[in-house]
Symmetry: C2
Subunit: 229 residues, 2 copies
């Protein structure tokens, strides 16, 4: 009975990894659709988000069912509750990829991104995709060090986001207000996507160590700083 | 023992109502700070968000503790899991009120909102505040009809949001890009705040009826449309 239970728990983990893969792919394709003004690709991303939502609802139902039938305590309970939150984060990542694709669709056949911002937007899209791929890996491997690395990756996306906004308010900006509005929103979508990916990784740290990231880092630093005599 | 349990469950409900009250007040004050360029008020909103975060973490810990100790099933399990989600929604509302306050602080001593947009922003802020107040009432009273009304309120905020964006892309816009960026972000914050408030109310519908809103509405409509012979 306990074995079937742990199989179900593993299956929930597998679903989270699959969701991370799907939303990463969606954000990659949404970014391409946005930069290339590729309508078919944008439509594909928008339609495919349904699959992520289904996985999310299915995972929720399985997790609640598991709580009811198996009444886990301690670590097992923490895994199930945390999985629910990670699923909600990843579902939201899917929404944000869809939002980027919708901007691409709205501006088609034009591209929403002026050519001088292409590289920054591309970099944000790629970094967002890498972050959620890393989050998927962290779920699969429970690698706390990799999870903690993601804070820096998130700083990198914040830097790109500030760079993007600085273009907008530069007096040489000549792409008009509509484009500024699009870029403001798109920048926000990437930033939120990255936040959710980092949040997933932080939740794995909590799962593994039983401590929230700030506490864990503080405890580790205190241990390292302690006199060794 | 069961009585103490239901008291704890009630206390979780009370905390959610308190969180709704706090974030509603925060959004009201953030809107005033934004429109009046009131730095002290903005700082107050930013500092007060800590209290909401504390309530959220405290509620999470109590809910998980309850799951571990009491191992609820069926409706009781659904209440605890749903409370965790509502708490996450309300915590996010607090973040969004803080974001609005930060825009006010960033532009001080100027106001981020041009005078011709004051009334639209004020209306969005008030509606957002009313939505979360209604969500609090729905949590306290489990009033499904009121919860379902909130879909229309959410449509109203979407309409205001579109109106706000239409000002930005109007060719008569003369407030520059920086203001357009601020307004785009602020509009998005109100919209997301309202989404989370509606989400809270929808979760109450699920709690009371055991069905998600779409299913519940469809089932009700089917029952009403059934021939009465």
């Amino acid at each position: 009975m306990r074995d079937a239970y742990h199989e179900e728990l593993d299956a929930i983990g597998d679903s989270l990894v699959e969701m991370a893969r799907l939303v990463g792919s969606a954000m990659g394709r949404a970014t391409t659709a946005l930069l290339d003004a590729d309508l078919a690709l944008a439509e594909g991303v928008i339609a495919a988000d349904e699959k992520v939502n289904e996985l999310h609802h299915d995972l929720e139902n399985r997790a609640i069912d598991l709580l009811a039938r198996q009444q886990p305590v301690a670590t097992d309970l923490r895994i199930v509750v945390t999985s629910l939150r990670m699923s909600a984060d990843l579902e939201r990542c899917g929404d944000l990829a869809r939002h980027v694709a919708k901007v691409a669709r709205m501006r088609y056949p034009d591209t929403a991104v002026p050519s001088d911002l292409h590289s920054t937007v591309l970099e944000m899209g790629q970094l967002a995709q890498r972050l959620v791929a890393k989050a998927g890996l962290v779920i699969a491997t429970k690698d706390v060090d990799k999870a903690l690395e993601m804070e820096q990756d998130d700083d990198a996306i914040d830097t790109l986001h500030r760079e993007l906004l600085s273009h907008l308010i530069d007096e040489r900006w000549h792409h008009g207000i509509e484009t500024a509005v699009d870029i403001t929103l798109v920048g926000r979508y990437y930033e939120r996507f990255a936040d959710h990916a980092v949040s997933v990784a932080k939740r794995v740290v909590y799962l593994v160590t039983g401590e929230h990231v700030a506490e864990f880092v503080a405890a580790t630093e205190a241990a390292e700083a302690a006199p060794v005599d």
